[in-house]
């Protein structure tokens, strides 16, 4: 009788241990799946950003932006201004926002930058080609030479300054 009871206790102990071990593995599995899922989501976002970065690096050499004089990594400021007045370009590119920021505004908040219009160009800091006004977006940027024709003492010359070409894509991971 006593021996039978002791066996029952041992079986109970064994059962508790097995339940404990299974629970432990379930928690570890859930933890692992959560980590992998998080990594996958970050990887997808990183891929989207890399694609946007690769795309903007090619933008400077596209006919819509490149400088007529064979300069590398150069954007024609006048062309960019002309594009900013054509709303159809919103549909042409896959970005949610596309803009050029001059070096004088690199350290400024976006709200403090002087937006370029036909009235104040070229004495401005930010050429917004288009903005779809998306709530959550991630921006990537690339340095470019921003060039335009200037006149001094009656002579023309090409003036190039440093600027950033900024392209933003919709950040789907931040949406709730």
């Amino acid at each position: 009788m006593k021996k039978n009871k002791r066996s029952q206790v041992r079986m109970q102990e064994m059962a508790f241990m097995l339940v404990g071990v299974i629970m432990f593995f379930v928690f570890v599995g859930l933890f692992g799946v959560a980590i992998l899922f998080n990594m996958l989501r970050n990887s997808a976002q990183q891929t989207a950003e890399n694609n946007a970065l690769a795309a903007i690096k090619n933008l400077a050499s596209s006919p819509e932006f490149y400088c007529a004089t064979s300069k590398t990594n150069c954007i024609d400021s006048d062309k960019a201004m002309a594009l900013s007045n054509i709303p159809d370009y919103k549909k042409f590119y896959s970005f949610s926002r596309l803009e050029i920021i001059k070096s004088s505004a690199f350290k400024k908040n976006p709200s403090d930058m002087v937006k370029c219009t036909m009235a104040n160009y070229p004495d401005c800091e930010e050429i917004v080609i288009y903005d779809k006004n998306v709530a959550y977006e991630k921006a990537v940027s690339s340095y470019v030479a921003l060039c335009r024709i200037e006149v001094e003492n009656g002579a023309n010359y090409q003036k190039c300054e440093l600027a950033k070409l900024v392209a933003a894509t919709e950040d789907k991971s931040s949406k709730k």
């Binding site: 002791r6 041992r10 102990e13 241990m17 404990g20 071990v21 432990f24 593995f25 570890v28 933890f31 692992g32 980590i35 992998l36 990594m39 970050n42 990887s43 990183q46 890399n50 970065l53 690096k57 300069k71 590398t72 990594n73 150069c74 070096s103 004088s104 690199f106 350290k107 690339s142 340095y143 470019v144 030479a145 060039c147 200037e150 001094e152 003492n153 002579a155 023309n156 010359y157 090409q158 003036k159 190039c160 300054e161 440093l162 600027a163």
Partner: protein
């Protein structure tokens, strides 16, 4: 009683082994799948910065009253071949190059001991492929100190200087404040 105690010890040992093995597997998985650093992207950024600097219009011209301003690339070339040459503003080409680099880098990288980027170094080296006259430093400018860098990144560009080439290399020191 002694047999029962021995059984309990075995169970505890078994659970401990399972926990240790699981932890080892988890650590291994972490190192296997951990996200890689994006140094290469940043380095590409610096290469694009130097490429934009090559076309940058400086305030150095050699003809008075005529707006034939030299580009960054022209000044790099001039500073190598004729470093004593004076611009109309009275400064030598190398002085203007140094001032322009400081201005451009200052606007873009925000260098400072309490900032994300602690220091930068820009070197221009002359090299001829297959010649003994290789990697001769022709120009060197630096701001800040390269100490306690958590990451070093940079880029380079090549400017033609017949019969060889000039390699412009930019190196940036990123500190702990930049890890946010």
């Amino acid at each position: 009683m002694i047999k029962n105690h021995k059984g309990q010890s075995e169970t505890v040992g078994f659970v401990l082994i399972i926990i240790i093995v699981t932890l080892i597997i988890l650590i291994f998985l972490y190192f296997l799948f951990r996200p890689t650093s994006n140094t290469s992207t940043t380095s590409a950024d610096m290469t694009y910065l130097l490429s934009a600097f090559d076309e940058y219009t400086t305030n150095c011209t050699f003809i008075p009253d005529l707006p034939q301003y030299e580009t960054g690339k022209d000044l790099i070339s001039e500073c190598y071949s004729n470093e004593g040459e004076l611009c109309v503003n009275g400064k030598t080409v190398c002085q203007v190059l140094n001032d322009t680099i400081k201005d451009v880098i200052g606007k873009t990288l925000d260098i400072g001991q309490n900032n994300q980027n602690k220091a930068y170094r820009l070197t221009i080296k002359y090299f001829v492929k297959g010649s003994s006259e290789q990697n001769v430093t022709k120009f060197n400018t630096q701001e800040g100190n390269f100490v306690n860098c958590t990451e070093r990144y940079g880029g380079y560009s090549i400017v033609s200087a017949s019969p060889g080439s000039l390699e412009v290399r930019l190196e940036v020191c990123k500190g702990k404040n930049g890890e946010n």
